[in-house]
Symmetry: C2
Subunit: 331 residues, 2 copies
Amino acid sequence: MTKATATIRDVARAAGVSVASASRAMNGHSNVTTKTRERVEAAAAALDYVPHLGARSLTMAKTNTIGVVLPDLFGEFFSEIIRGIDRVAHAGGLQLLLANMHGERAETAHAIRAMRGRVDGLLIMSPDVDADFLNANLPRGLPAVVLNGHITGVGHGSLSIDNGAGARAMVAHLVARGHRRIAHIAGPSGNSDADQRLAGFRAAMAELVGDTAPRVFAGDFTEAAGEAAGRAIAADGGIDAVFAANDVMAVGCMAALADAGVAVPGDVAVAGFDDVPIARYVTPGLTTMRVHIADLGARAFERLAALIAEPGVATPPDETLAPELVVRGSA
Amino acid sequence: MTKATATIRDVARAAGVSVASASRAMNGHSNVTTKTRERVEAAAAALDYVPHLGARSLTMAKTNTIGVVLPDLFGEFFSEIIRGIDRVAHAGGLQLLLANMHGERAETAHAIRAMRGRVDGLLIMSPDVDADFLNANLPRGLPAVVLNGHITGVGHGSLSIDNGAGARAMVAHLVARGHRRIAHIAGPSGNSDADQRLAGFRAAMAELVGDTAPRVFAGDFTEAAGEAAGRAIAADGGIDAVFAANDVMAVGCMAALADAGVAVPGDVAVAGFDDVPIARYVTPGLTTMRVHIADLGARAFERLAALIAEPGVATPPDETLAPELVVRGSA
DNA sequence: CTGTTAGCGCGTTCAA
DNA sequence: TTGAACGCGCTAACAG
C-alpha cells in the first residue's frame, strides 16, 4: 500500500508544532523562530511534503492559473500563441489551463463556465465570443481578455490584429509590382481574421485597381484548401497574383502551382499572411504579412494580468497590432 | 461594486432548502423531489450560479484534470501532440494543465511538484526525466506516463517512438536508391529522440554501407540548423544524401541547397523524420518517416487514464510506436 | 426525502 | 512568537 502524500498536519505533528506555525515557517513569514523554522523544514523534507495547491487556492481565493480558450487551431499558429502566453505567464509563476474548442457554441460556453474556481482570469479566442455571449456565460467578476474580438465592460479587454490594414498593404504591394488580376484565397467564413482579411482585400482592390468583383476562392486555412485553389488558378490562366488569407494556404497553393508547371512568381505571384516560421524556407521564400503571433499572446496575457491585479478598472480601448510586410521571392 | 458569483449556499437559501439538497438536485441525484429540484434549478438560474470546481475537487479528491509537462517544443510537433492529448481528454471531460519547460532540470522538478493537488495524473516529456528523478520529485501516489523515456514502478508507464528502427529504415531506403555517401543532421544532444536517431543512423551505416564514421552535422531541430548544414553540404560536394533528424531541419537544408544551386534529389537527396503536415507541400515533397504524433499523445493519455482508474497496478511493458516510411520527391 | 454535521488541506484571524 | 478556532465552497455520511 503506497503511503499517500503527507499533509501540512503531518508535518506539524512531526515537528512538534501547530499547523499554523508550520504554515508560517514554510511560507517564509518573519514571525517564526529560527529553531521552529528548522524543525519544520526538516520534518517537511523527511516526509517529502508537497503542498496541495488546490487547497491553498481555496483559502487564498487565488489560483495563480489562467484559463486559455482557443479554437481548434492547426499548426504553428497554435504553438506560437501558446508559446507567447507561456513565456510571460511562466515568468510570473502562473500556470495555464487549456481548453481547445471544436467549434460548437454550447461547448465554448461550457468550457468557460468549467473554469470557475480554477483560474484567476481567462484568455479567449473564439468566433463565438461577443459581449452578449460573455455576459451570459462568464462567471461574475472573472476578468477576461478576448483575442481578435471586440469587447467592452469592466474587467474585460480585447486585442486584435489589424487585418484590414494588412490586407490593404499586401494588395498595394502586389499592385506596385505590376499585378492587376489578383485573386484571394479566403479563410473560413465566420472566423473574424478571415472575414476582415477578405473585406480588406475587396476594399483595396476596389480602391487601388478599380476591380469591384475580384476573384475569391473559398478556403479554411488548411494546406489542402490552398492546394485546391492553386489547381483552379493554374487551370484558369487569367490570374497573375494570389493573396492567401494565411501562409499555410499560400504554401499549399504554391505546391499545386509547381505541380501544374506554373512559375512562381513568374507566371503567378503568391503572397500569404502570418509569417509562420516555415514561410522563409519554402522555395521561393514566401512574401507575407508578418504577425508577431507570440507577441500577440504575450501582450494579451499582460492585459489580463493587469485586469486581475486591478479589478474593476474601466475597459481600456481595444489594442490593435499592425502586421508588417515581408517581401521574399514569391511576390 | 460587482456582485461576486453566487455560492451553493446562496442557491440553497433562495430555494428555501439546505445546501445538501441543493447539491443533490444540481448533481442529478435521484433522491430529490421533483418540486425541490425545480426550485433549486430556478434559484440557480436566477442567481446565475456556476459551481466552484476548485472546491469540488477538494472534497471529491479528484480534479478531472491532467498535467502536461513538455519541453520547449517548436512548431507543429508541439501543436500535434497537444491536439492528440486534447482529443481524448476532451472526450472524457478532462481539462489540461500545461507546463512548458525551458530546459532547466530544477525547473522541471518544480513544475512537477507544483501540480500537486491540481491534477489527477501527469503526462511528462522531458530529457531530464528518469526513474530516479521521478521518484524524487513526483508526489506520492500520483500516476504518471513518460513520453520518450523509460520508466518502471507502480503507477508509472512509458511510451516512445521506435527511433532506431525508423533511422534504419530510412538509411535502407537511401541505400536502395543507390546512395552511399550519406550524412546526418543531428538533433540536440541530450534529447532522447535525437540521440536514438543518431545512434540508429550510425548503426545502419555501419551495417548497410560499411561506413563506420559517416558525416554528422550538429543541429537543434530548428530550420536555421538545417540551413547551416545545407550550406556546408553544398560547399563540401562529396555528399549525395542527407538524413535530417527531423523535418524542420530537412526543410531548412533544402532551402540552403536550392540557394546554392544544388539540385534535390538530383545532386543530393534529402530526407527527414516526423512527417509534419508541411512536409508534403514543400517542393519537392519531403521523403520522411511518418510518426503519428497526435496518436502518440492520445495513446499516452489513454495509458494515463488507465493508471488513474486502476491505481496500484503493475507497470505494463513499454509501448513503442513504429514510424512509417513515406516516400515523396526529395529522396 | 431532507437537514445537520463533518471534513477535504490550507491560510489566517484572534487570543494567549 | 505560538496555537486554537474558523472558513474557503463543496459533497458525503448519518440521522430524522
